[in-house]
Amino acid sequence: MPADGTPVGAVPIGVHGPSPSSAGQPPRGPTPWGRIANLARRNEETGWRVAGRIAVVLPLAALLFAITILAIKAWPSIRVNGFHFLTGSAWAPGSTYGSIIKTDGVSHPQGSSYGAWPLILGTIQTSVIAVVIALPISIGAAFAITERLPRSAARVLGFTVELLAGVPSVVFGLWGILTLGPFLAQNVYPHIANVMPDVPVLRYFRSPTGHGEGLLTGGIVLAIMIIPIITATTRDLLRQVPSLPKEGASSLGMTEWEVARSVTLPWVRSGVIGATVLGLGRAIGETIALAMVTGSIIQVAPNIYSPMTTIAATIISQLDSAQTDATGFAISALAEAALILAVISVVVNVIARMIINRTSRLGANA
C-alpha cells in the first residue's frame, strides 16, 4: 500500500493527468475529502451490512421492549387481580378518595379490583362480527374486480376500495356515531329484532334495540374498515389463478358460478383465510372508532344491540382517570389489558403470516 493510504491500484480522483478541460481547475489530488470518500467507498459494504442487521433487529427489539415494559407496568395488577383479571366482570377503580391498602405488597385504593372479561369478550365479539360481515362482501368485490366487471369499471372499484383503506378510523367513528348508528337504530335494528324467534343464539338478536351505540354498530363500522384489507389480498390472489383450469371447467359446461365455487375459490382458499385473519388482527386492535360507537359501557353485552366496550377502547377512555389514581394501580390494570391485547394481536398476526406463507409456497410449487 502506498504511504498515503490509497489502496493499490486505486486511482485517486482527478489525477488522470492534465487535460485541456481540467487545465484551469486546481489539482484534486488525495485531499482529506478525497480520502474520506475513498474510505467511505471501502466501508460502504460493511456499513450496508451493519445497517441491514440493525434494521432486521430493530422491529423485533421494539416489540420485545414494548411487551417487556407492559409486563413490568402490569405486574402489580397481575399480582393483585390474579387469574380473576381474565374472568371477572367488574372494572372497579375503588375509592381513589378513600384509604389506600396493601395487598401482596402492592398498594392500591380500597375496593379496587379489575376484571377484564367484558373487554376481552367485547374485543372478540366486535372482531368476529366484523369478519362475518366483511368476508362475503370482500370476496364478492374481489371477484367483481378480477372477473366480472369491464376493465375500466374494475379499475375504479379497485381504486375506491384502496382509498377506503386510507380513510382514518376516526372518520369512520364520527360517521358511525352521528349517522350510521342512529339510522340503524331507527330503521334496521327494530325490523331484525321483530322477526327473531325466542330460541337460543337468535334470542341474542331480540329487543331492546337500543340507541345505535353498541356491539352490532361497532361490528359494522369495523367491517367497513377491514373490507379493503381482505378485498385487496383476495383480488391479488384471484389474479394468480391460472386461466387454463378455469377455461377447462367452462368447456366442460360449468356455469360461471360453478367455476368460481369449484375451481377458483379452492385455489385461493387458504390465502383468503390468511387475509381474513389479517383483517381480524386489524379489527382486534382498532381503537378510536370503537371507543366512539360501542357506547363505552364496561359490561358483557346482554344482546347484540347493547352498549359494550373493547380492550383498546377502554384503554383510551379510561387512561386519564386512571392517571388520577395516585397508587398507579389503575394504570397497571390498563397495562395488563394492553398486554393481553398485544399477545392476542401478535398471535393472530403470526397465524395469518403462517397461512399466507404456506399458500404462496403452494402457489410456487403449482
Binding site: 375503588g94 381513589t96 389506600i100 375496593g111 331492546p208 352498549p307 382517570s321 386512571a322 392517571q323
Partner: protein
C-alpha cells in the same frame, strides 16, 4: 344566575377603564370601587411582558367559562396566550400533575393520596358551580326527584318513569310508562365525582356499595348509556327519550334549548329546589366557614334552608413550582384575574355559565394559594 340580571358592567367597560387609567394600580382601585360582590377586588399582578403560553385543560363544566375568559384576558394582557381544552376533570388533574398542562380545570379536588404523592400540587377554588339532573320525558314539566330515587334509578331498581317512588314525589302529574335510560360519563369526570357524592349521601345501599370518584364502577342497568364530556351527556340525553343524566350547570341553557327537563331536587330540609343563584349561594354559605386553606371540601347535600344539594367549587389544579418564573407569573396573573369579582368573576362572566362567585373569605384563601405558584 340566569334568573336574575343585575349585570352592571361589561368586560369591555372594564377594559376601557383600565386603558384610560394612568397605571395598573389606579385601574385596580377603580375596579375595586366598581366591585359588585362586596369582596375587596385583589390587585391583578401584571404578567411578564415577554410572550408566554398557558395551557389549560380539563373539566368540560368549566370549559365554557375558560372560553369566555380567554379572549378578554388575552386582550388585556396580549403577551399571554391561553390554550383551553375540554378533556374532563380526570385529564385536567393527571395532565397537570404530569406537567403537560399548566392549569388543570377540575370539578373535583385532589384525592388525599394524590396530595401525598404530589406535595407540590394546589387545588385553587375559582368559582362555585352546581349540577342539574336533566330528563327527557316529553310533556312532563317540573319533575321532582330525590337523591334516594335517583340512586335507585341508577342502580336499576326503578326502571319506568311512572314507578311508584317517582309518582309519590309528583302527585297530580301524569307520568308515562317510558323505560328510564340512565346516562353516565364514560371519561374521568368531576361531575361523576360530585354526583356519586350526592348518591352516597342520600342512598344507603349506594353508600355501602359504590365508592366516590371521577370514575366509579357503575351498577349494571339495562340499556344504560355512557357519554364523553358534558356535551356528550347533553346530546346523548336529548337523542334518547326516557333518559336521565347529570350535567354541569354551565350547559343548562343548551339543555333547555334541546327541550330537556331540569328536575327539582329534594334538599336535606325536604324542599324541592332548582339550581338558582339563591339556592346555590345558600348552600355555599353553609360551607364557607368550613372551607380549609387547601380548598378541598365537598359541598354536597347542605343542611341549610333553601339550599341546592349538588354544588361544588370549580378548581384550578396547579403545581406550585413551575418550570419557569415567566410561566409562574403569567399563571398568578391569570388566576388572580379569574377570581377577581371585578374581572373574571364578575356577573357578566359567571351569569352566562350559571356559576356563583366565591365568598370573600374563599377569595382570600385562593389568593394565598395563587401566591405559592413560583
Amino acid at each position: 344566575m340566569r334568573r336574575h340580571t343585575n349585570v352592571t358592567r361589561t368586560p369591555r367597560a372594564f377594559r376601557f377603564i383600565r386603558q384610560s387609567a394612568i397605571g395598573g394600580a389606579v385601574a385596580a382601585i377603580a375596579l375595586s370601587a366598581a366591585s359588585v360582590a362586596g369582596a375587596a377586588a385583589p390587585t391583578i399582578p401584571a404578567p411578564p411582558s415577554s410572550a408566554v403560553t398557558v395551557a389549560e385543560t380539563g373539566s368540560s363544566l368549566l370549559y365554557p367559562l375558560w372560553n369566555l375568559w380567554q379572549p378578554v384576558y388575552s386582550h388585556q394582557y396580549p403577551s399571554v396566550t391561553i390554550s383551553t381544552a375540554s378533556t374532563g376533570s380526570g385529564a385536567g388533574i393527571s395532565q397537570t400533575l404530569a406537567g403537560t398542562a399548566n392549569i388543570g380545570a377540575s370539578d373535583a379536588y385532589l384525592a388525599p393520596a394524590q396530595v401525598q404523592a404530589n406535595k407540590n400540587a394546589l387545588n385553587i377554588p375559582l368559582a362555585i358551580s352546581s349540577q342539574f339532573i336533566a330528563y327527557n320525558v316529553p310533556g312532563v314539566k317540573n319533575l321532582k326527584l330525590s337523591g334516594n330515587v335517583i340512586a335507585q334509578i341508577y342502580q336499576g331498581s326503578i326502571t319506568k318513569w311512572n314507578a311508584a317512588p317517582i309518582a309519590k314525589l309528583n302527585k297530580g302529574v301524569t307520568l308515562p310508562s317510558t323505560p328510564i335510560v340512565t346516562v353516565h360519563r364514560a371519561d374521568g369526570s368531576g361531575d361523576t365525582f360530585i354526583f356519586s357524592q350526592f348518591m352516597s349521601a342520600t342512598n344507603s345501599t349506594w353508600n355501602t356499595k359504590i365508592p366516590i370518584g371521577t370514575t366509579i364502577p357503575w351498577p349494571t342497568v339495562s340499556g344504560a348509556l355512557a357519554e364523553t364530556g358534558n356535551s356528550g351527556m347533553l346530546s346523548g340525553c336529548s337523542a334518547t327519550p326516557g333518559c336521565i343524566a347529570y350535567i354541569g350547570v354551565s350547559y343548562l341553557q343548551k339543555a333547555q334549548a334541546a327541550n330537556l327537563g331540569e328536575a327539582l331536587l329534594q334538599n336535606a330540609k325536604g324542599q324541592f329546589v332548582l339550581p338558582t343563584t339563591a339556592t346555590v349561594t345558600a348552600a355555599a354559605a353553609s360551607f364557607t366557614a368550613k372551607t380549609p386553606k387547601s380548598g378541598a371540601i365537598s359541598m354536597i347535600n347542605s343542611s341549610a334552608k333553601g339550599a341546592y344539594p349538588i354544588i361544588n367549587y370549580e378548581y384550578a389544579i396547579v403545581l406550585a413550582n413551575q418550570p419557569s418564573s415567566t410561566t409562574a407569573s403569567a399563571i398568578r396573573s391569570l388566576l388572580t384575574w379569574a377570581i377577581s369579582p371585578a374581572q373574571g368573576s364578575s356577573t357578566t362572566f359567571l351569569n352566562s355559565v350559571n356559576f356563583v362567585p366565591l365568598p370573600a373569605k374563599v377569595v382570600t384563601q385562593s389568593i394565598a394559594q395563587i401566591k405559592k405558584i413560583k
